[in-house]
């Protein structure tokens, strides 16, 4: 991170100046300034704020420097940056179209709305057309950004514990070979979920740094894999890997691919879960800012316990810790009770109704198991299946991380092998992928 220059920078939101810390994402800067409504939702114009804070939920979309619908939680704040909220003609705080929300409390069935008459149908069409869409067109044209093309023997996607272990295990011979092993990481630093220091079973920051250092030169940071394709070109290789690197594309032609992309935080479908002030617990742990003082944490099992403790270490006061299931690791230090959240109240949320009681708080944190990110693998035909205990669709692998696609391997949480299993699964898959 650039440590030169002032630590406080200034951005603007809908014309209003906001102070931000250097290194903040736009979302962190706004939350720090107490701004919780980032946008209005597409259909009912409900107020929305960032949920996951890690680029997976799409609830933080904003117009930034003239480009529509960017993820505010993924864009670093820069001096003079102009941020605008979308989909709210009269301002996000008083959006007139929010009438759509309470006029249709049960929801609006757009399939069967006003089908009775052609005239009403045309009215519905006009209204729907006016309300459609989120962002306005970009201010400026953008010319094609020339992409790069490279070859690799093995591409490992994700430099969390599983990906790092896999890269290490892939073998020196392969690493030294031409094209060798490339380890891609979306974030500016390696470590993935381990950087949160939530789970004692995972390597700590120093160990991660050591693992990454030992692989020097092969780790590509700020490199997000956005697509995986079976190679349909005339060039040799099994797979095409499309990678976004700071606003341009890198195309890798690989013999083998190993995905270790982890999981994504999940919300829970109770009333008001989409309101500003409900966040993923992991997102709050990683956020450089605080969202108030008092939290209610809702979740399940070990993830709940780990996240609650991490949030308390961060300085939050835990009003209540609500466990959805019957089982969780013993945690006498936490105010855990088994219950069900009924509704979140207030904008931003100021209370959570649990059973018949209301718990007042500054924000609600949801700590469900992050769901395996199966998309890269399943899009090329690797099987992924629902596993209730995992809370998602892990990629199906054998003991060596082989998927149902011969050139594709998977390890870590995306294969349902998170936490303490991540390192071992990464190592086994890396060794197998290294052998081919």
């Amino acid at each position: 991170m650039d440590r030169d220059g002032p630590q406080t920078i200034r951005i603007s939101l809908d014309g209003q100046a906001i102070d931000a810390q250097r290194g903040d994402t736009v979302a962190a800067a706004l939350l720090r300034a107490g701004i919780t409504t980032f946008t209005r939702s597409i259909k009912y114009h409900r107020p929305r704020g960032p949920f996951c804070l890690q680029g997976s939920c799409g609830q933080c979309l904003m117009r930034i420097d003239g480009a529509p619908s960017l993820l505010a939680c993924r864009v670093l704040a820069e001096e003079g940056m102009i941020c605008q909220r979308q989909n709210a003609p009269l301002g996000a705080e008083k959006d007139i179209f929010r009438a759509a929300d309470f006029l249709f409390p049960e929801g609006l069935d757009h399939h069967h709305l006003m089908t009775g008459s052609r005239l009403l149908g045309r009215v519905a069409l006009e209204v729907a057309r006016r309300l459609a869409g989120l962002g306005e067109l970009p201010d400026k044209p953008r010319a094609p950004v020339e992409a790069e093309l490279r070859k690799a023997r093995l591409v490992i996607v994700g430099a969390g514990p599983a990906g790092l272990a896999a890269a290490r295990a892939a073998g020196d011979a392969l690493r030294a070979a031409e094209g060798g092993v490339l380890l891609l990481e979306r974030e500016p630093r390696p470590g993935g979920g381990a950087l949160l220091a939530i789970d004692p079973a995972l390597p700590d920051r120093d160990q991660i740094a050591q693992m990454a250092l030992a692989l020097q030169g092969e780790v590509m940071l700020d490199s997000e894999c956005v697509g995986l394709y079976a190679n349909d070109t005339a060039l040799p290789g099994n797979a095409l890997v499309a990678v976004r690197q700071r606003g341009r594309l890198l195309l890798l032609i690989a013999e083998r691919v190993l995905v270790a992309v982890g999981g994504a935080s999940q919300p829970l479908p109770f009333a008001g879960v989409d309101r500003p002030g409900v966040h993923a617990a992991r997102g709050l742990v990683a956020l450089p800012a605080m969202v108030g003082e008092r939290l209610v944490v809702v979740g399940e099992g070990k993830e709940l316990v780990d996240c609650a403790r991490a949030l308390r270490r961060k300085g939050y006061l835990l009003e209540r810790v609500i466990a959805l299931g019957k089982s969780w690791p013993a945690a006498a230090d936490l105010p855990i009770e088994e219950n069900q959240p009924r509704r979140a109240l207030g904008n931003p949320v100021r209370a959570l109704q649990v059973g018949d009681s209301r718990i007042h708080c500054d924000a609600v944190a949801i700590a469900m198991n992050p769901a395996p990110l199966h998309e890269l693998a399943s899009s090329v035909g690797a099987h992924a299946r629902w596993v209730a205990e995992v809370g998602g669709f892990p990629i199906q692998v054998d003991g060596e991380g082989r998927t149902s696609v011969p050139w594709l391997f998977a390890a870590g949480r995306c294969a349902g092998l998170g936490g303490s299993a991540a390192l071992n699964s990464g190592e086994a898959a890396g060794r197998a992928a290294g052998r081919g």
Binding site: Q59, G133, V145, L149, V226, L249, P267, L376, S379, G391
Partner: protein, 497 residues
């Protein structure tokens, strides 16, 4: 004030109530659930709703374990600007045919295949539950054609009918297609009243851009014909086209043909509407049921074999779109149709700025803005090999993004969200194959609609049902399979893609 909704998909504001409603209506398989509710089609691409949806579907053991799979993942997996794809010089495509997609659930029949037996005998069996088959079933059931059965191997929307761009236009170069399209578009305007579900026909017009003199002469010729058929089509200058679609770079083309009455629809509800309508009229529509054989004897059809058993039928209609040659072969019939993949992609939702569907006749680029605000478009690829390949390619994203941002430079930083592919069902003259099959009485063809079957289906299905009921109709002569053997082609040249 904010109402007390339980939102499952925050991108599209889908509630628990919406999901339960969709399941109750029979759209409980994950692909239908996604399409019927819109779940997972927004900027998060399903990463935050698929799990919650599956939790709801699996509670109370409502969903067979084999069907507990994710919906088909669609790249790109993070919103990526077109300018970034446009900068990719995609390597040349392989000369090997590509294997295409594998089923998400693994091997064998779909886990949601019904366990109930099929009827022993029906009057008309329709193979293929795309828009052709379903619309035909609705009309036949309304005409008292006896027992009508539709067999679809996948979910409704599995084929091209669930994968197309929803463009509907009357700008054609043969009188028959102009008339079919006119009738179909008129029907689409009343679809909601007739079949009880909205299809969102938006008449924003069609602009056919001519990039060179030769193309310009072609569109001038077609405008004359179209005006004779009562269409308001006219040639507009590049400047006028730029007023109709203000973001176009008007230096990229010479002129355009313009019909303000053409438009776009939302394809999926047509299938649900026709299927539900056909069932209300007594027809049977069976999904997840594959036809595996056609029995013939003494020069006529006898029965169908399926992966759920045998059904005897007096008449069998092949309405399998791009799969029709494969299915007709089950009866020993050779169709001249050839399947070609066509890819398509949807952008992030933008506020309405583009009225018409715009297409470039030279490159095959086309795009329009959907009712949800997305720019939906595609582009044919001269290097595409024939085959039933429905997988997506990076090459397409690169070619499409380059062509589109050249024509509409302001789209450079607009992000792509979801790509998919379907198959065109291409005949040698780009006209359909309709009616009797020489040598196999009772085997009826309803295929070969290339990349424009959606907009033809309402009219074609009505006329086919009436013709099957005994009404004479020249199109079943004109487009008969016989014509290929007789060397009597019906050339249509206004093909996009």
């Amino acid at each position: 004030m904010t109402a007390d909704k339980s939102i499952v998909c925050a991108c599209e504001d889908v509630t628990v109530h919406d999901l339960e409603d969709a399941v109750a209506r029979g759209y409980g398989d994950i692909e239908s659930l996604k399409r019927y509710t819109g779940l997972g089609t927004g900027p998060c691409q399903g990463k935050s709703c698929e799990v919650a949806a599956m939790r709801i579907c699996t509670s109370g053991n409502k969903l067979a374990p084999g069907a507990q799979v994710p919906f088909r993942a669609r790249p790109p997996f993070a919103p990526t600007a077109m300018a970034e794809f446009a900068g990719l010089q995609a390597p040349p495509p392989s000369s090997e045919p590509q294997p295409g997609l594998r089923p998400t659930w693994g091997k064998g029949p779909h886990p949601l295949q019904p366990a109930t037996p099929l009827p022993e005998k029906v009057d008309v069996a329709i193979i293929g539950g795309g828009i052709m088959g379903l619309a035909l079933a609705w009309h036949l059931a309304g005409e008292g054609a006896g027992k009508v059965l539709v067999l679809e191997r996948g979910y409704l929307c599995e084929g091209a009918s669930g994968r197309n761009g929803g463009g509907v236009r009357a700008q054609w170069t043969t009188p028959t297609l102009i008339e079919l399209a006119k009738e179909s578009i008129a029907f689409m305007g009343r679809f909601a009243q007739e079949l009880g579900i909205n299809v969102w026909l938006r008449k924003g017009g069609y602009l056919f851009l001519a990039h060179d003199e030769e193309t310009l002469r072609r569109i001038e010729g077609s405008v004359d014909l179209q005006r004779k058929h009562g269409l308001p089509t006219r040639i507009v200058t590049a400047g006028e086209a730029g007023e109709i679609a203000p973001e176009l770079d008007t230096s990229k083309f010479l002129a355009a043909s313009w019909n303000p009455e053409d438009g776009v629809v939302f394809p999926w509800p047509f299938l649900w509407g026709y299927a539900e309508g056909a069932r209300r009229r007594g027809a049977q529509v069976e999904t997840f049921t594959r036809v595996t054989g056609i029995e013939t004897g003494q020069g006529r059809v006898r029965a169908l074999q399926t992966d759920r058993g045998r059904v005897a039928a007096d008449r069998i209609v092949v309405a399998c779109g791009a799969w029709s040659p494969q299915v007709a072969k089950l009866a020993g019939v050779q169709l001249p149709n050839v399947p070609y993949r066509h890819e398509i992609v949807s952008s992030e939702p933008l506020k309405p700025f583009l009225g018409p569907l715009v297409t470039m006749l030279g490159t095959g680029l086309y795009f329009s803005q959907s009712m949800r605000g997305e720019i939906v478009g595609g582009m044919g690829d001269p290097q595409e090999l024939p085959g039933l390949n429905q997988s997506s390619s990076l090459r397409f994203l690169a070619r499409y993004s380059r062509a589109l941002t050249e024509l509409v430079p302001r789209l450079g930083s607009v992000k792509l969200l979801r790509q998919w592919a379907g198959c065109y069902d291409v005949t040698p003259d780009h006209s359909p194959v309709l009616g009797e099959t020489p040598g196999v009485a009772g085997l009826l063809q309803m295929s070969g609609f290339v990349g424009h079957g959606f907009m033809m289906a309402p009219a074609v299905a009505r006329r086919m049902a009436e013709w099957m009921g005994g009404t004479k109709d020249e199109i079943f002569e004109r487009f008969a399979l016989r014509r290929f053997a007789e060397g009597r082609l019906e050339k249509e040249t206004f093909i996009i893609g």
